[in-house]
Symmetry: C2
Subunit: 531 residues, 2 copies
Amino acid sequence: MLRVGLLAAGLIAGLSPVARAAEAVTEQWGIFDLTLAGPATGNPFRDVKVSATFTQGSASVTADGFYDGGGTYRVRFMPDQPGEWRYTTASDTPELNGRTGAFTVVTPSPGNHGPVRVAHTYHFAYADGTPYKPIGTTAYSWVNGTEAQQDLTVRTLAASPFNKIRMEILPRVTDSRGTASRPMPFAALSGGERDFTRYDPGFFQQVEKRLGQLRELNIEADLILFHPYGKNDGLRLSATEADGYLRYVVARFGAYRNVWWSLANEWDLIRTRTEADFVHYGELVSAHDPFHHLLSIHNSAVIFNHTLPWITHASIQNGSAVEASDRAELYRDVYRKPVVYDEVKYEGNLPQRWGQLTAEEMVHRFWEGTVAGTYVGHGEAYADDPDSWLSHGGRLRGQSPARLAFLKTILADSPAQGLDPIDKWQDTPAAGVPGQYYLYYFGLNTPTTWPFQLYKNGIRDGLRFRVEVIDTWGMTVTPVPGDFVTKQKDNYNFTDDQGRAVALTGKPYLALRIRRVDDTPAVPLTAPNGE
Amino acid sequence: MLRVGLLAAGLIAGLSPVARAAEAVTEQWGIFDLTLAGPATGNPFRDVKVSATFTQGSASVTADGFYDGGGTYRVRFMPDQPGEWRYTTASDTPELNGRTGAFTVVTPSPGNHGPVRVAHTYHFAYADGTPYKPIGTTAYSWVNGTEAQQDLTVRTLAASPFNKIRMEILPRVTDSRGTASRPMPFAALSGGERDFTRYDPGFFQQVEKRLGQLRELNIEADLILFHPYGKNDGLRLSATEADGYLRYVVARFGAYRNVWWSLANEWDLIRTRTEADFVHYGELVSAHDPFHHLLSIHNSAVIFNHTLPWITHASIQNGSAVEASDRAELYRDVYRKPVVYDEVKYEGNLPQRWGQLTAEEMVHRFWEGTVAGTYVGHGEAYADDPDSWLSHGGRLRGQSPARLAFLKTILADSPAQGLDPIDKWQDTPAAGVPGQYYLYYFGLNTPTTWPFQLYKNGIRDGLRFRVEVIDTWGMTVTPVPGDFVTKQKDNYNFTDDQGRAVALTGKPYLALRIRRVDDTPAVPLTAPNGE
């Protein structure tokens, strides 16, 4: 269901110097869609530039506009504050220049928390401060399938735990669905060729429809701007055309609060672009996105340099890294940014080793990533199904999503600031907040007992904790009777003052949740990795 | 034994416009030590600048000089080509300016391979192309102990496998040996204070004596320029004084071909310096070192940004990373530079967990690092010995050095280009050169058989390999009878055409060396990590 104010507010400016759009109500982090009439001749996509500067008090935001066909230009704005905003347009085209107006932004509707930002160095939160803990999935080409398939995908997502989806913009030209019947991003020329300086607004409008639906579902759209697959048109763009495409995409989609930019999938497999090209694209997107969406780039064998300042988080393909939390943690230290393992191989039964994880292994990787203080992405693919979720969305059939929904409930009930490794580079697979909350994960180990023990940071003698045993596959949480009370054991660890241990079932994939239950003051924390 | 030409060639310039130093013979990558007479009044360390430009044909190298006390100035030059060189000095001090001369550089003596450089992205080689495969150790304060202790350390090193040593320049003021009887780097003032703008040449000359001895032993001196320990004077330098100290050190020591610069040990524990300070120091050292020595910086809990362009290799403290090769490998992908795990905890029996590795675990970490395509550093410390090697050099007593000597023989007999992971991010702990050479390491696993299997890259049916079983702890190499002949098994791997397996002893710490023995042409390699 679309709420008023989340819809693009359509109004035509230009009738008077200050057009008062009394009928248009935009909410904070919604889209104010400034519509302007201008020239329809020549190549307006390439040759006509328009922007608008939006102001409120001392705040000023300039957004690029774009041509939407039929003599219509739009400048989209995602206001980050309620109240009165004014705008002034700028263009070399006189009829688009110097248009001014004002509009009112109302407070956000329930469920609208704004765009996702980096928080606490390694984690995420919505702009209103609400924690955002990604449980991502991937359905690369879903917005390029049939309407029915896309509708099905939206229904599936609505019933799933996923709050982020990786998706390509540019259609795969060679895939079995053909291209003739679909809108394509670039304008068709005779002979099957394309004009890469003109776009088909219909293509982008249908993507926007899906972005809006994802936004309603509070699902972040991790938009893949270039990819190496299926002889897609992005591989053929000249340098100028590539810049033009990126600016068009950023101008069109940037006001959707749920957009993330992923410059590429498997950037190093895109043979027509160099690493320097992608640095340029990153700088360009960063410079032209006034809303500062999350921005990263995904690798095949060659990880991009995620230390670059315009990269907000590390988007990494590496299945091996999340086989164990002590591996998964290492990239955090390197990047000092959120680490999202967007591709860790996929649940399924493909002959290729990237698509034959058991559901247990997929869930296991999510948990290992979680107790490493990182985030993991899902996907599934099946040899007997050319319409597998990974490529085309549709229906999920794997056994991992139910367990990821369970993990999501655990995360929802975890500290808002995110989970960080408790004692990094040591032996303990635990994340949490020292002295307050601990999530241990035993992975493939099958212990029958766990002697209660906490690393010293944030602990002193006499603190009380309650322990729950989590079966991550069985999706159960079982409280352990009684409190555990800390008593210093040695230079590094505290145990229970009665020497108590936690009984475990001897199954794999067990975890522990340990929460402080006394109300004494917090113990001051020391630096991590204290020796 | 010092050879002629490795000794500093002392000559006094300034007697004639072109002083011909017929008696001075400098060899390539030796030190030409240009000696100049100048003012001894005021503070020549701080106030007198002199440099010299050395030319041969179109080659031109400018090196900073330094004041060595007693009215003597020196400009040191490490020539990288034999033949005739000329020099011209430059200084604002007239008597040091415009001095010219010429000298002859002869070809290097046997054993002089020049400075170590990065080679093949992840590895090292001497300037003459000879592979350099670090087996490093650490004795932080050894050049600040007694003469007898230093002499003992040199003898110990001569009999050890180590070809690199991490060592601090700046003495620990608080250590038990006292400071009164030792030369100190900064000039003494009354009342126990120091003038941080004046240096004691005697201190630096004794360090140089040890650098020269290490050079004779072909041991690289990984010089730690700042460290957090023992209230050393480096902690107290002002910004200007710190820059002056670094420039003095670079000017004095930079012509020693075996010098590496380590900006800091545990940089993040140095509370008087910021990360930005160390970026500045790195840029300064890089700009003022005309000989381009290897340059890095070592961490405690916060890894430095080793992607910065002036950092030649990643110097990392992380013991956990080398517990398993699939962890150790991860930093390679991030930095695309050599990765040297300079601190992986230490062999010994300290109560601190950083100093209680068994010898087996220390050796194990070297092997895990090796099959990850990285390098590892050694150290040892004992609770019953305040003179432990780690701090003061002296004698080695651990059980790991003998096994590291054994590893060194394996590396000496491995491909010159270095060992790279064969099939990264997958399950196989093997490094080597695809199609030619493989080193598998089983670590803590205790297999009794290994079905012969090689990843597809560089392999086709019918290639012949010989296998040797290595007991890395027992220090034995046992050939397996007969050849193994490749036959494709599936999309990823080849096995033996007779399905043969290698029998193993069931001990831990076993490795395999597998070498191609047929002489058919090499199979073209594909990109790594092919799916």
